[in-house]
C-alpha cells in the first residue's frame, strides 16, 4: 500500500526556517567569527551551505563549512575500517571554535554522537552545538538539539522525508505513514 504523505514544509517555509536557524546560530555563538559549520553527509551539508549563505547575508561573515561523513564512526558497523582518512573533510580548523553540527533530522541521537567523535579527530573546539531541520524526538541517547527548525512527535512507523533542491530537485519536508505490511 502506498504511504500517505503529509507535507511539513514547502519551499518558502523551508527558506524561512533556514533563515531563522541561521539567526539563532549567530545569536548562540559568542563570536560569529569563530563559527564553523559542519554538515553531516549528505543533506546536512546542503543545509550547512544554505545556512552559511544566510549568515553571510546577515552578518557579512562567511563561516567555513566542513563535511562529516559519519559512516566510519557508526556504531552499528561491526568492523570499522582502519584508515587515516576517517571520512572527514580535514581542511577545516575547529580548535577554539564554536562548531555547529548540522543535519536534516535528529532522531535517536546516534548520528550526532558519532559526529562528535569525528569532530574530536579534527581538534578541540571551544563549543559544539547541534542544529537540525526536524527534531522527531524519541532520543535513545542523552543528546540534545540546540537549534531546531521544527519539532514533530511521531511514532516509530513513520518517516520524515527531507528533500532538498541540491540533491532531490525539490525543497520539501514531509511525513509518510507506512502501513503495516500484510503478511
Amino acid at each position: 500500500m502506498a504511504p500517505e504523505r503529509q507535507i511539513l514544509f514547502e519551499r518558502d517555509e523551508l527558506a524561512k526556517t533556514i533563515s531563522r536557524m541561521a539567526h539563532e546560530i549567530v545569536e548562540k555563538s559568542t563570536n560569529p567569527r569563530d563559527l564553523v559549520l559542519m554538515g553531516i553527509r549528505s543533506r546536512g551539508v546542503h543545509l550547512a551551505r544554505r545556512i552559511a549563505r544566510k549568515i553571510h547575508e546577515v552578518e557579512n561573515i562567511a563561516p567555513p563549512v566542513g563535511i562529516i561523513d559519519i559512516t566510519p564512526y557508526r556504531d552499528d558497523r561491526i568492523h570499522p575500517e582502519l584508515s587515516t582518512e576517517k571520512g572527514l573533510d580535514g581542511q577545516v580548523s575547529v580548535d577554539e571554535k564554536t562548531v555547529i553540527l548540522i543535519d536534516d533530522v535528529i532522531f535517536r541521537g546516534r548520528t550526532i554522537r558519532a559526529a562528535m567523535d569525528a569532530v574530536a579527530q579534527l581538534g578541540q573546539p571551544q563549543r559544539i552545538l547541534v542544529a537540525v531541520l526536524v527534531d522527531r524526538g524519541a532520543r535513545e541517547l542523552p543528546i540534545r538539539a540546540d537549534i531546531v527548525g521544527k519539532n514533530v512527535q511521531i511514532g516509530d512507523g513513520e518517516r520524515v522525508n527531507v528533500m532538498l533542491a541540491e540533491s532531490d530537485g525539490i525543497d520539501q519536508v514531509s511525513l509518510s505513514h507506512w502501513q503495516p505490511r500484510n503478511v
Binding site: 551539508v45 587515516t84 581538534g123 543528546i143 540534545r144
Partner: protein, 642 residues
C-alpha cells in the same frame, strides 16, 4: 639519544646539512666507495609511498648495502595490533638503520626512542618529512646557487602537508623568505607560525592578494578570492623600523621559486574547495615577472600543475625527484658513519615536563601518537614560557603541537589553581623540584585528590536529606522509564558518579529492580586509563550490547565528561539506549549533551565550583552539595597553604 636519528629537520645543524649536500654532490664517488657494504636498511611504510621508498632503497643499493622491508604493513604484525614501540625494538635487531613512514604524528619519534639503531623519518602524519626537505633545499641550492635571501612561495595545502612544515623550517634556517599562498582553509597551522616567530625570528606580514593573483589557472580565472585575508609573507631578518613598510616590500618581491603541493582530491569529496586551490598553468609561463621563477613540486601531482610547465626549463620538479637518490645516499652515509650526535637538536632548549601523576594534559592533536597509542610514549612536553599574556605553553615532544597550560598543581601539598602569569616563577620552582602537576580540567585535578588553593566562602545548596530525597525521586523516574529491567545497566562515572550509582541501585532495589552495576574510569591513572568495568572487580566483564544503560554522575557542567563517557561506551559495545542521571546540573554546556534526570538545577557562574561531598569520599562528613568561588593564585609562593 646517542644514535643519530633524523626525525625532524631540526635534528641536523646547518653545517651538517651543508655536509650532506657536499656528499650528495659526489654521489658517484659514494657509489664507488661502497660505504653501505655490509649494512642493512629496513624500511617500514605504514602509509603508501612510491618516491620516498624507492629512492631510499635505491640509495642503499647504490651504496652497496642491502634492504629489507615489509611490502605491506597491513599484512604485518602491525595489523595484529603490535605497538610501534615493540616493532621498533624487534626490527632494531634485524637492521643497521630504520626508515619509517607512519600515519600518526610523532610515531617515528616514539620508534626512535625504542630502537637501538638510527631511525629516519620518511614522513609521520602531518608532522614532518625531513628527507624530502633535504632534497628540496638541495634542488633549490643547485638551481639558484644559494638559499639565503631567496623568496619562495609555497602554494596549496599548507595545513596537512608534512613536506611543507619541514620545508618552511629548513628555509627559515637558511634565511630564505617565505610567502604562503594557501588554498582556502588550508593555511599553515598556528604552531608552525609560532615556531617560525619564536625560534627563527620571523616577521609575518599579510600579503595583498592582488599581488599574488598572477598565479592564475588555465582558465585565467583568479583562483584567489579578493581580500583573502590569510596569505602571509614571512620575512627573515627584518628590523622593526621596516616592519611598517612590509606590504610594500611584498609587492616589490622577486619570487625565486613556487613550491606547489598536491591537491588532495580525496580530502575534497564534493569539490567544494577545489576552486580556491592555487594552480599553475600556461599563463604562468607567459608572465614576464616569473621568467626566473622555478617551479617545484614534491609529486605526485593532480591538476594543480599543468603538464605544459614540464617542457619549460623553469619546471624543475623531475630534477627535484631525481635528486632524491643522491641526497638520501649522502644522508645514509652520514648517519651510518656518525654514531654520535653533534647537533643534539638545534631546538631543544627549555624544560621537559613529565607528569608526576601518571596522567596529565593530553596533547590537543587527535592524531598524535601520545593520543593514539599512549603506551608507546612517555607523554613528554617541553615547557615554553612567555606565550601571549604570559601564558605557559606546552609543546608536545612528539608532534610539535602547542597548547596553553590551564591548571597547575603542587604535588606535595596536593593543591591546584588556575595558571596565570604571576605564577611563572612558582611553576618553574616546582618543575625544578619535580613537584609540578599540570591538569587539563578541574575534574581531573580533583580526581587525583587535589584541592583548590584557596576558595571563597562556601554555601551549602543541598543537605543530606535533600540529597536523599533527590535520589529517591531519580530512582522512581528511572523505574518508570525502564522498558526492560533485565537489560538495565547502571554505569557510574568514577569516582563520585560510581558512589551515586550504588545508591541509585539501592533505590531501585526498593522497586524490586536489581540491575548490574558498572563504572567508567575517565580520569584515572595507570595502564588502564579510560575503561568501562563492572563495579565488583570479581564480577564477569560487562556486555553493553543492546543494554539500557543509565549513566550516573554527580555534577554536569560543560558536558565533556559525559561526551567522553559516551565514546567509551560505544567503543565497548552498542547499547540499545543510554540515559543520563545527575544529582546537579549547573549549566554552561559546551557540548550538546542533555541529562534525562536531574536531582537539582543550580545556576552558577563560571568562576564558581559546585562540589558534591559524599560520606564515601569525605571522612566524617555528611552528604552535602556546596558551592564556592575559586580564588587563585596561591597566597604563598612556596606552596605551603593551609
Amino acid at each position: 639519544m646517542s644514535l643519530r636519528s633524523v626525525i625532524s629537520i631540526a635534528d641536523l645543524t646547518n653545517d651538517e646539512i651543508e655536509e650532506i649536500f657536499d656528499l650528495a654532490g659526489s654521489a658517484e664517488k659514494l657509489r664507488g666507495d661502497r660505504v653501505g657494504h655490509g649494512r642493512i636498511m629496513a624500511t617500514l611504510f605504514y602509509e603508501p609511498s612510491t618516491r620516498t621508498r624507492l629512492s631510499f632503497e635505491s640509495a642503499m643499493h647504490r651504496l652497496g648495502g642491502s634492504v629489507i622491508s615489509c611490502s605491506d604493513m597491513k599484512s604485518s604484525s602491525a595489523a595484529k595490533g603490535e605497538s610501534v614501540a615493540d616493532t621498533a625494538k624487534v626490527v632494531s635487531s634485524y637492521a643497521d638503520v630504520l626508515v619509517v613512514r607512519h600515519y600518526w604524528d610523532g610515531a617515528v619519534q616514539a620508534m626512535a626512542e625504542y630502537a637501538d639503531i638510527p631511525v629516519i623519518n620518511a614522513g609521520d602524519g602531518s608532522h614532518e618529512h625531513p628527507t624530502q626537505t633535504l632534497c628540496d633545499l638541495y634542488t633549490l641550492k643547485k638551481e639558484k646557487g644559494r638559499l639565503k635571501g631567496l623568496t619562495v612561495v609555497i602554494c596549496g595545502d599548507l595545513k596537512n602537508g608534512r613536506t611543507i612544515h619541514s620545508l618552511v623550517y629548513g628555509l627559515a634556517r637558511f634565511g630564505a623568505n617565505v610567502v604562503t599562498l594557501a588554498a582556502n582553509g588550508m593555511e599553515l597551522p598556528q604552531y608552525v607560525l609560532e615556531r617560525l616567530e619564536r625560534e627563527y625570528g620571523y616577521t609575518l606580514a599579510p600579503v595583498a592578494s592582488g599581488d599574488l593573483s598572477a598565479v592564475v589557472t588555465e582558465t585565467d580565472a583568479l583562483y584567489l578570492t579578493p581580500k583573502q585575508p590569510h596569505q602571509l609573507a614571512l620575512f627573515t631578518q627584518v628590523d622593526t623600523a621596516v616592519q611598517s613598510q612590509l606590504s610594500t616590500m611584498v609587492s616589490g618581491l622577486r619570487y625565486d621559486a613556487f613550491y606547489m603541493t598536491r591537491k588532495q582530491k580525496e580530502r575534497m569529496k564534493d569539490g567544494s574547495r577545489a576552486e580556491s586551490y592555487p594552480t599553475i598553468g600556461e599563463s604562468f609561463l607567459k608572465e614576464q615577472r616569473f621568467k626566473d621563477t622555478v617551479v617545484m613540486h614534491p609529486l605526485p601531482r593532480v591538476d594543480e600543475l599543468s603538464p605544459a610547465v614540464d617542457k619549460d626549463k623553469r619546471g624543475i620538479y623531475f630534477k627535484q625527484a631525481a635528486y632524491g637518490v643522491p641526497v638520501r645516499m649522502a644522508l645514509l652515509k652520514f648517519i651510518c658513519e656518525q654514531r654520535s650526535s653533534k647537533a643534539a637538536g638545534v631546538e631543544k632548549p627549555g624544560s621537559i615536563y613529565e607528569s608526576p601523576e601518571g596522567v596529565g594534559p593530553r596533547c590537543p592533536n587527535a592524531n598524535c601518537i601520545t593520543v593514539m597509542e599512549p603506551g608507546s610514549t612517555q607523554k613528554r612536553f617541553q615547557i615554553l614560557a612567555g606565550g601571549l599574556g604570559g601564558a605557559l605553553i606546552l609543546r608536545c615532544i612528539y608532534c610539535d603541537h602547542r597548547f596553553k597550560v590551564q591548571l597547575v598543581g603542587h604535588v606535595k601539598s596536593k593543591h591546584y589553581c588556575a595558571y596565570d602569569s604571576s605564577l611563572e616563577q612558582t611553576a618553574k620552582d616546582w618543575l625544578k623540584k619535580n613537584e609540578l602537576a599540570i591538569f587539563g580540567s578541574i575534574k581531573e585535578a580533583e580526581e587525583r585528590g587535589y584541592e583548590p588553593y584557596k576558595s571563597g566562602p562556601q554555601r551549602t545548596l543541598m543537605d543530606e536529606s535533600e540529597i536523599q530525597a533527590a535520589l529517591a525521586e531519580l530512582g522512581d523516574q528511572v523505574v518508570r522509564d525502564c522498558r526492560d529491567a533485565n537489560r538495565l545497566l547502571i554505569l557510574g562515572i568514577r569516582t563520585k558518579g560510581a558512589y551515586l550509582a550504588q545508591r541509585l541501585a539501592a533505590q531501585l532495589a526498593a522497586h524490586q529492580v536489581r540491575p548490574e552495576i558498572g563504572e567508567i574510569e575517565i580520569y584515572g591513572s595507570g595502564d588502564e586509563i579510560r575503561r568501562v568495568s563492572p563495579a565488583d572487580p570479581d564480577a564477569a566483564p560487562l556486555n553493553l550490547k543492546d543494554r539500557e544503560i543509565l549513566l550516573v554522575d554527580d555534577v554536569i557542567y560543560t558536558g565533556k565528561t559525559v561526551k567522553t563517557a559516551l565514546s567509551l561506551i560505544f567503543r565497548a559495545g552498542r547499547p540499545q539506549s543510554v540515559r543520563l542521571a545527575v544529582l546537579v546540573d549547573r549549566g554552561h554546556r559546551e557540548v550538546p549533551v542533555k541529562p534525562n534526570y536531574v536531582g537539582k538545577h543550580i545556576p552558577s557562574s563560571e568562576r564558581e565550583r559546585v562540589r558534591v561531598k559524599l560520606r564515601e569520599t569525605e571522612h566524617d562528613e555528611k552528604d552535602k552539595v556546596v558551592i564556592y568561588s575559586i580564588v587563585s593564585p596561591p597566597e604563598s609562593r612556596t606552596g605551603r597553604v593551609a
